[in-house]
């Protein structure tokens, strides 16, 4: 039992996970966009989820404002909400689709995949 404790897990209380990147699978077919999107039909977009609590870790690359807001939230949660867990770095994906003139178009759509999450 002592060993379990050593990992610092608190029993009986569900700890919220910290801000991090989570899976988000987008299926264009389910969106009904596959009549004009040739490829890809689905892709992994990811999303950010979790709490931004004090102290903020450096990999979350908080802005100074997020540090102040998190500090105030830790002092009095009722006065200030915590900072938000959001995408801090995004990357594009290529899409091949048919335009309104039935032409085949290749386009690089910016900001479609979450690379990193942070607190802002």
């Amino acid at each position: 039992t002592a060993l379990g404790n050593r990992h610092g897990k608190r029993h009986g209380k569900k700890s919220k996970s910290r801000c991090s990147k989570k899976a988000l699978h987008v299926n264009f077919k389910e969106l009904g966009w596959d009549d004009w999107i040739i490829a890809p039909l689905d892709y992994e977009a990811y999303h950010c989820e979790g709490v931004c609590d004090f102290p903020l870790r450096s990999h979350l690359e908080p802005t100074n404002h997020a540090i102040i807001q998190t500090l105030m939230n830790s002092m009095d949660p009722n006065s200030t909400p915590p900072s938000c867990c959001v995408p801090t770095k995004l990357s594009p994906i290529s899409i091949l689709y048919i335009d309104s003139g039935n032409n085949v178009v290749y386009k690089q759509y910016e900001d479609m995949v979450v690379e990193q999450c942070g607190c802002r």
Partner: protein
């Protein structure tokens, strides 16, 4: 401010619309509903036929494969010189239909409808890609000595757009000829671009029968048709939601326009070997009542 949401299709549609509680009332939910309704598999299932009717050119498929694989390695498409730092590459298939004649084919016209090119995007390059088949009667072409000159002109003027040399030995094998067509967009305004191709013997400047070099357009599959590829770069970052809205709107107007054009095309006359009827699969469209 507009909200964007990815809503699971399993929720019933009516609830889906209600779920978006937004400050400006039902406007954005109507827009979202409009987008989803018009593209929903149940309503728009005839669109699948449309998609199947369009055969992506091998060139576009190879572009997509190359750049999306590079993306996975963290390389941007604009990294490749061939992309001309464009983030959008649009292909237009040749709509010309040649007249069958037995006299030597000295000139050939190519017609492209570029009306869907957005004027909000900066054109950074354009190429006309023509598939040259292996000519049937190898004997005649291999007798020729000296280089061929493949020359590209606008239909409406004789200012040379681009030219490429072709070795007679190479001309016995099939291949793609890529000609720079960027200047065409500066010379000619409007949505219909017409190019004219001719091939001369470099020494004597005599025009060659395009059939000898496998450049005539008769009997070509969709994959062998000439395509005009336009490279554009969007100046400002567009909101995906707005872009989808525009796409849906323009598809709807294009659909209505095509119905009108179909009626008109029934009476259109062939002029100068170039027809207004369009490519296979783009004929009159039946709208399912």
């Amino acid at each position: 401010f507009q909200s964007a949401a990815i809503i699971s299709p399993s929720a019933p549609r009516r609830v889906r619309g209600a779920r978006i509680s937004h400050r400006d009332g039902q406007r954005s939910s109507k827009i979202l509903k409009d987008i989803l309704a018009s593209t929903h598999p149940v309503v728009g299932h005839h669109k699948d036929d449309l998609k199947d009717a369009i055969v992506p050119h091998e060139y576009m498929l190879s572009i997509y494969r190359t750049y999306s694989a590079a993306e996975k390695l963290g390389l941007n498409a604009s990294f490749f010189r061939s992309s001309k730092s464009a983030n959008t590459i649009t292909s237009f298939v040749d709509r010309g239909t040649g007249l069958v004649s037995h006299s030597p084919l000295r000139r050939q016209k190519y017609l492209f409808d570029v009306s869907t090119l957005s004027d909000k995007e900066e054109l950074v390059g354009a190429e006309l890609t023509i598939f040259r088949r292996a000519p049937g009667n190898l004997q005649t072409s291999s007798q020729t000595t000296g280089l061929y000159d493949i020359q590209l002109y606008p239909c409406s003027s004789d200012s040379l757009l681009d030219s490429r040399s072709l070795d007679p030995l190479d001309s016995t094998k099939a291949g793609w000829e890529v000609l720079d067509a960027w200047d065409m967009f500066k010379v000619q305004q409007g949505n219909q671009l017409c190019f004219q191709l001719r091939v001369t013997l470099r020494k004597s400047d005599t025009e060659v029968d395009l059939r000898q070099l496998g450049l005539d357009r008769s009997g070509r599959s969709q994959q062998e048709k000439a395509i005009l590829v336009a490279y554009t770069r969007s100046k400002k970052r567009e909101n995906l939601f707005n872009e989808m809205k525009e796409k849906i709107k323009s598809r709807r107007t294009a659909g209505e326009k095509e119905e009108g054009a179909a009626a008109k095309a029934a009476g259109a006359t062939e002029e100068d070997g170039v027809s207004l009827k369009g490519a296979k699969g783009e004929g009159p469209r039946r709208r399912r009542r």
